[in-house]
Symmetry: C2
Subunit: 133 residues, 2 copies
């Protein structure tokens, strides 16, 4: 018998996500974070400085951008390069790994953008049905 | 001046995710939820009953599977069909919208699965560097 509440799901051999699902889940968590997605998409256009990114992604706080970039750097998706100018210039750039991830992330972003009205109206219908019950 | 902490990011016109980012973020949140992803992938193989899904996705509790299916149904990604047998049979199936989403989700899952060792070792290196500092 399998325990009911193990944290790591065990998928059957025919599942697409077989093998180490804990790692897969942690990558999905990164992609589920909208700030990481927006940073990855902006860096798709080439290296950017911190303040450029902050300007491009309206609504992100200094602290949240710092945390997001640090998480992406830790995952090996982004490099941080300090140029010894005065004041020091800091560039962020996608690694090859990050560029690879940006392809499926862009496809997902495009799907989300395209189908967002359908999802919105499905939600409205669902909530209306359930309120009527 | 823009407020620092608005919840909905405003991206510049050249951004891929321009337009209604709130909706896009909510779709990404769904995809960032590993249980939703696992259910979408399992239903890619055709309609399934509740208990089949529960068996296929080891480690998911009854309650979490119920909540996940309800969220997917609300988003218009999954249909729930009750057959008036005794006991009633309940089938879950991807809608056309859900099948459309499963394509980029599978690509992302495949990427995550393939590159998970690289990400793991990047994390170990990063943590080692930062512990040494």
């Amino acid at each position: 018998m399998k325990p009911e509440h193990t944290r790591v799901p065990v998928l059957p051999p025919n599942a697409h996500l077989d093998g180490d699902c804990r790692g897969v889940a942690s990558v999905l968590a990164r992609v589920g974070d909208k700030w990481s997605v927006f940073v990855i998409m902006q860096l798709g256009g080439g290296p950017r400085r911190f303040n450029e990114l902050k300007r491009m992604i309206g609504g992100i706080s200094q602290r949240m951008l710092t945390l997001t970039l640090r998480g992406l750097e830790r995952d090996g998706l982004v490099t941080r390069t300090v140029f010894p100018t005065i004041p020091p210039r800091v560039d962020y750039e996608l690694t090859d790994l990050g560029r690879g991830l940006s392809t499926p992330v862009k496809a997902l972003g495009a799907w989300a953008h395209e189908h967002q009205p359908e999802i919105e109206s499905a939600r409205t219908r669902f909530d209306g049905r359930n309120a009527a019950e």
